[in-house]
């Protein structure tokens, strides 16, 4: 099975994150950049499927030059190769444009299965898998907590608000995975060394036949009008339990009309 895993580099969610004041985009220069955590689960799932059914695993990343760090890190877990879509014109791309570029790149990769994390920790946009499926005319199974591959047939289990659903589709398909699906492996020393030699192909917008004015700031379908730091929440009353804190807590809830 030919598997492509979408990997995104994001600012570390544990650190302070900002929007830049000049162009209202995520300030990726000032933050510590890491692989979007959910994507590691997608890589793990891809590797497990390859181990059971054979095939090849390719990482696909769209991002600036420095995303190569994340690509090498992803490759050190075990995938075979990577494709890096990189182009200056991509800066500031909205979700709609991003899906256009990724769909064009996927069009050149002939994937049976496209795996990705169920959401990204920076933009929190869960829309990409369906946007890609829509563009590619393939099925999308999203939020999988379990995925079974049987020949060309995929079956996934996904959490819903009322319980869970079992959903199915034939390949080719886009599947997004939730972090309950597996436990991602740590790269071994051997894996890290091997990753340095794995092929990483770069693709520009011209290679993909996408014009620069369809992406980036020029082609954005939405725009930030203004942004500001939210005033930090200030701490309120803090009491130390000396035997009556439970009662005092309820008294507070009564004053605030919650009881």
């Amino acid at each position: 099975m030919n598997i492509v895993v979408l990997v995104k580099q994001v600012p570390d969610s544990g650190a302070e994150r900002n929007l830049t004041s000049d162009d209202n985009t995520v300030d990726r220069g000032s933050a510590n950049n890491v692989i979007n955590e959910m994507d590691e689960y997608a890589i793990e799932e891809a590797l497990k499927i390859k181990e059971a059914h054979g095939g090849e695993v390719t990482i696909l990343t769209m991002g600036p030059d420095r995303a190569t760090e994340s690509i090498r890190k992803a490759l050190s877990m075990g995938p075979d190769a990577a494709v890096h879509v990189v182009d200056d014109a991509l800066a500031g791309s909205c979700a709609v444009a991003t899906s256009k570029v990724l769909a064009a790149a996927l069009g050149t990769l002939n994937a049976d299965l496209i795996l990705c994390g169920a959401e990204s920790t920076d933009g929190r946009v869960q829309v990409l898998p369906h946007m890609l499926a829509e563009r590619l005319g393939v099925a999308a199974l999203t939020g999988a907590r379990k995925l079974t591959v049987d020949g060309a047939s995929l079956t996934a289990e996904r959490q819903t608000e009322e319980g869970y659903e079992v959903v199915s589709a034939a390949t080719p398909a886009v599947v997004s995975v939730w972090d309950t699906i597996n436990e991602p492996r740590y790269p071994s020393f051997k894996g890290i060394m091997a990753a340095k030699k794995k092929p990483v192909r770069t693709l520009s917008l011209a290679d993909l036949g996408v014009s620069a004015d369809e992406v980036g700031f020029a082609g954005a379908t939405s725009a930030v009008v203004e942004h500001s730091k939210r005033p930090p929440r200030s701490a309120g009353t803090k009491i130390t339990d000396e035997g009556t804190a439970g009662t005092q807590l309820v008294e507070y809830l009564v004053t605030e009309k919650f009881v």
Partner: protein, 319 residues
């Protein structure tokens, strides 16, 4: 007045979701709300009363087995056709997994901008979003096409505005590509009478400090006494104390209730990401230095196993 399409979400147990009522309330700022029900046969009739009560001037009903038996693609197709036909002033959906998925497909079909996780929307289509674990407020506008927006639950207070809508049946013309992802089985899990986590006006969450799965009964007891939902930190979920669907935070649910009670939760930034916009925050933690106290309106430094039973007893007394 131009129509504003509101995509309805409902559950078996509770009917029309609260977030849909919020959307109808918000839609009135922009134009005349039209509720769009996308479901199996008979879906709209059950929901019509509530939709009318909250101001739906018209109800569009797309009802078919094709919608029920597949993931969101057929819904997006129906909606795209409707948008082309009525040229609404805006399309509003819930910022739930399903709402975002439909919106994503719609954005591609219409080559239209999309704003997700919005907490407020002005009459001119300017949307407010809260980014980066609640630390940044962003105002944005769709610059291509109409305002296509998903609203985070508990952002607006639903206001009744009784109307007398007529129902317009829509044709469901799903394409072959729309029918690729099939629903094989839907399993409802027993959830009791607690409100849905993202919709609840009170959420009581437990963290690693709860100690084990059995002790989570203490959290449930407080939640039930307050009529709230139960949440959990990732550490509590990873330790197997409570199921994953109740996780609050960056990789779990985002909640924005009137009252959030954090029990034995340290307040890591990824947890805050999911609860920071709660109106009132109460915390109990034995570590006086725990970061959760930085955002708590009322904090108790103390042992949960002493504070909680006493609090439960006191609530019972007051009821």
């Amino acid at each position: 007045m131009a129509e504003v399409l509101v995509v309805v979400e409902a559950t078996q147990a509770f009917g029309v979701k609260k977030v849909t009522l919020e959307l109808l309330t918000l839609a009135r700022r922009i134009g005349s709300p039209s509720a769009v029900v996308l479901g199996g046969p008979g879906a709209a009739a059950e929901l019509a009363g509530k939709l009318a009560e909250y101001g739906a001037e018209k109800i569009y009903a797309a009802e078919s087995e094709e919608i029920d038996g597949h993931l969101v693609a057929p819904k997006a197709t129906v909606l795209a056709n409707l948008v082309r036909e009525v040229q609404p002033a805006a399309v509003l959906l819930a910022s739930t997994q399903e709402g975002k998925e439909i919106a994503g497909r719609l954005a591609v079909k219409l080559d239209n901008g999309l704003l997700t996780d919005v907490v407020d929307l002005d009459a001119d289509g300017t949307a407010t979003q809260v980014a980066f674990a609640g630390s940044t407020i962003v105002k944005s506008k769709v610059t291509r096409g109409l305002p296509l927006v998903t609203l985070r639950p508990n952002s607006v207070t639903p206001e009744p505005a009784p109307a007398t809508p007529g129902t317009v049946a829509l044709e469901v013309a799903a394409t072959e590509a729309d029918k690729l992802a099939k629903v094989v089985e839907r399993v409802a899990e027993q959830k009791g009478s607690r409100p849905e986590l993202t919709e609840a006006s009170i959420v009581v969450s437990g963290g690693r400090g709860i100690g084990n799965a059995d002790n989570f009964k203490l959290v449930e007891e407080i939640a039930d006494l307050l009529g709230g939902a139960v949440g959990a930190s990732r550490a509590a979920v990873d330790s197997g104390y409570y199921p994953h669907q109740f996780q609050v935070g960056q990789t779990g649910k985002t909640v924005s209730p009137q009252l959030y009670v954090a029990l034995g939760i340290s307040g890591a930034i990824q947890h805050r990401a999911g609860m920071q916009t709660s109106k009132t925050i109460v915390a109990v933690n034995k570590d006086a230095e725990a970061p959760i106290f930085e955002l708590a309106d009322f904090g108790v430094v103390g042992d949960l196993f002493k504070v909680l039973p006493q609090a439960a007893e006191e609530i019972r007394k007051r009821k």
